[in-house]
């Protein structure tokens, strides 16, 4: 059996990523400990190559490997976003691993393997590829979460992530097997046809729908499948947390939308009700529990749960409406996740590098008086938090604006109103940190106070995240046109 050349060319970005990952795993034991940075630059070079390759795949829609993989603008949108956030994570890790004295080269290999899984997820046209991509992403992330092998908290996070992740993929796989039983195939288009011809009344279909929703719910970290998120985000090394919060969520949304809109679009009336409930629960719990957090990583974890809730509004709109309204709803989800990526990555980068005596400053108390000690760092944090709260003129506002507009146009104005109320509540806990940074004096009792450990790589990451937050806030048009170009391809 030979594989056609055009099939291999179509998945060239994935091949480059996997090839580089293998190369890194081979080079890692050979390289001296002082030269591990080279691996990070190798990773970045591979990402740059992929960025170029995927940019040329923005038009058309081709199916390769007997319809297992689809290459279209929708997949390319997510891939481009994933390259950018992975690149920024690698740069952040360069600084963070040094500060943590973690001299491990295989870290970059795992990042790339995880990225390869995410890329397979977003361009999967068959539940088989989507499942395999999800597993490759998750297995790499379990390992990365526990990479601080001397730190019991990191390992605890890894174990908790592993147990719930494996549990959820078991549920997901059972749902897939039931869909296979209904349609006789795991291909999304065949499943869609089967639903169209057989009708939507089959009890196994409802069961499969629920199981898939639970499986993806864990990956997206939406209530009530969010239990692992705060613990894992807190315990994992912060650069890994940033990667999980941003890249894994983006890829999960990419695959989730493709499965539910393209494969299960025929039963959108059923799943839109389900996701309305999940969305409301996520908004409520994420925002309310974030208020009482004293650890900033846990607070950002609940904030990321809440943001998944906002993005779900667009999904619900897409489920209840057809045609152009649905596409706008989906496009607003794409835009929202892109915007969320920049502000969350920026916030986690600061959290990881704001350190005291070689330790991360994780409690919000330690941010007291930061504006005096580190005016620039405090300003960056201010921008990211303001954006997370959704206050204009930042990108966070634009993301929420498009989501709420989609909800209003889709006849779900009440949902937009509820979300606005929760957004107002969220401003409380984001701006509380701003208040602590700018208005509170640090405790006089302790001599050493947390400072930002700067490095060129970190400065670059922060500058990129800030540029993303500010520029997308002022000029969202180009990103919006990319999103509206990509979203109608589902359906």
């Amino acid at each position: 059996m030979t594989i056609p050349v055009q099939d291999l060319l179509a998945i060239l970005p994935e091949l480059v990523v996997i090839g580089t990952a293998c190369l890194i795993l081979v080079l890692d034991p050979i390289l001296a400990a002082s030269k591990k940075d080279l691996l990070a630059w190798l990773t970045l070079a591979a990402l740059a190559v992929c960025l170029g390759l995927t940019s040329s795949q923005m038009t058309g829609r081709i199916f390769v490997f007997s319809d297992l993989v689809v290459i279209d603008a929708y997949a390319s949108f997510w891939k481009l976003l994933l390259y950018i956030v992975t690149g920024l994570t690698v740069l952040l890790s360069l600084a963070y691993l040094k500060a943590e004295r973690l001299n491990i080269g295989e870290y970059y290999g795992f990042i790339l393997l995880s990225l390869a899984g995410m890329m397979v997820m977003v361009s999967g046209a068959d539940l088989l590829t989507i499942y395999l991509g999800t597993e490759l992403m998750s297995l790499s992330l379990y390992v990365m979460a526990g990479l601080k092998r001397t730190d019991a908290r990191s390992l605890e996070a890894s174990a908790k992530y592993f147990v719930l992740g494996a549990f959820s993929s078991g549920i997901l796989l059972y749902g897939i097997s039931l869909l296979f039983g209904l349609a006789g195939s795991t291909r999304l288009s065949v499943i869609a046809d089967a639903i169209a011809t057989q009708g939507t009344g089959h009890p196994l279909l409802s069961l499969a729908l629920v199981l898939l929703a639970v499986g993806f719910g864990f990956k997206l970290a939406v209530v009530p499948f969010h239990m692992w998120t705060p613990d894992v985000y807190q315990g994992a090394p912060t650069s890994v947390t940033a990667f999980m919060a941003v890249a894994s969520k983006a890829a999960s949304f990419g695959a989730f939308l493709r499965v539910f809109v393209e494969g299960l679009g025929g039963v959108s009336a059923d799943w839109s009700i389900l996701f309305t409930v999940i969305c409301l629960a996520t908004l409520a719990l994420g925002n309310l529990v974030a208020i009482v957090q004293t650890n900033i990583k846990r607070m950002l974890a609940y904030s990321s749960i809440a943001h998944a809730g906002y993005a779900l509004i667009g999904v619900v709109v897409a489920g209840r409406q057809g045609g152009a309204t649905a596409s706008t709803g989906l496009a607003s989800v794409l835009l929202y996740i892109a915007v969320y990526s920049f502000m969350t990555l920026g916030a986690f980068a600061l959290v990881g590098m704001l350190r005291k005596e070689g330790q991360e400053s994780e409690t919000i108390e330690e941010y007291a008086g930061l504006a005096k000690r580190e005016p620039l760092a405090a300003f960056f944090m201010l921008v990211f938090l303001v954006s997370l709260a959704g206050i204009p003129p930042t990108a966070g506002f634009i993301g929420k604006f498009y989501i709420f507009m989609a909800a209003v146009n889709g006849g779900m104005a009440w949902l937009a109103v509820v979300a606005v109320i929760f957004a107002a509540i969220s401003a409380f806990y984001y701006l509380r940190i701003v208040m602590v940074m700018y208005m509170r004096e640090p405790d006089g009792s302790t001599q050493s106070q947390s400072r930002l450990e700067t490095s060129p790589a970190l400065s670059f990451v922060l500058a990129c995240a800030l540029a993303g937050v500010v520029l997308l806030g002022l000029f969202p048009d180009s990103l919006w046109s990319l999103a509206t170009h990509a979203a109608p391809l589902l359906k």
């Binding site: 088989l128 019991a152 908290r153 908790k160 494996a166 078991g170 796989l173 097997s177 795991t186």
Partner: protein, 107 residues
């Protein structure tokens, strides 16, 4: 096994068996506290899925389902490898593999 074109055992038997195995796995994950037993329960869930795939594959005469089983088995093996490695590392750090004793996080 099949004899000619008919299934000797009706499809529903396989589905009931797989549902039972799957539920055993789910309940195991939810009520057991030992990480190794939880890992075993997850394996039960995955194997229940494999029963489904093979049964449906036989029913539809579609080989795709059996191909899926190969992939699922491979993933399950990888999952066990990673899971056991994490459990060993955790045991070295905390001297416990009981999930209710893992309470360093949450403050």
């Amino acid at each position: 096994m099949t004899i000619g074109n008919t299934m000797a055992v009706p499809l529903s038997y396989y589905l009931i068996l797989s549902a039972f195995v799957f539920l055993t796995g789910v309940v195991g994950v939810l009520i057991r506290r030992n990480l190794i037993v939880i890992l075993l329960s997850v394996e039960l869930m995955l194997n229940a899925t494999n029963i489904n795939f093979v049964a449906f594959s036989e029913y539809f005469h579609q080989v795709a389902g059996q191909v899926f089983v190969f992939f699922a088995l491979t993933v399950a093996a990888a999952e066990v490898a990673v899971g056991l490695a994490i459990i060993i590392a955790l045991h070295r750090a905390q001297s416990t593999i009981y999930v209710d004793e893992l309470n360093l996080l949450k403050r």
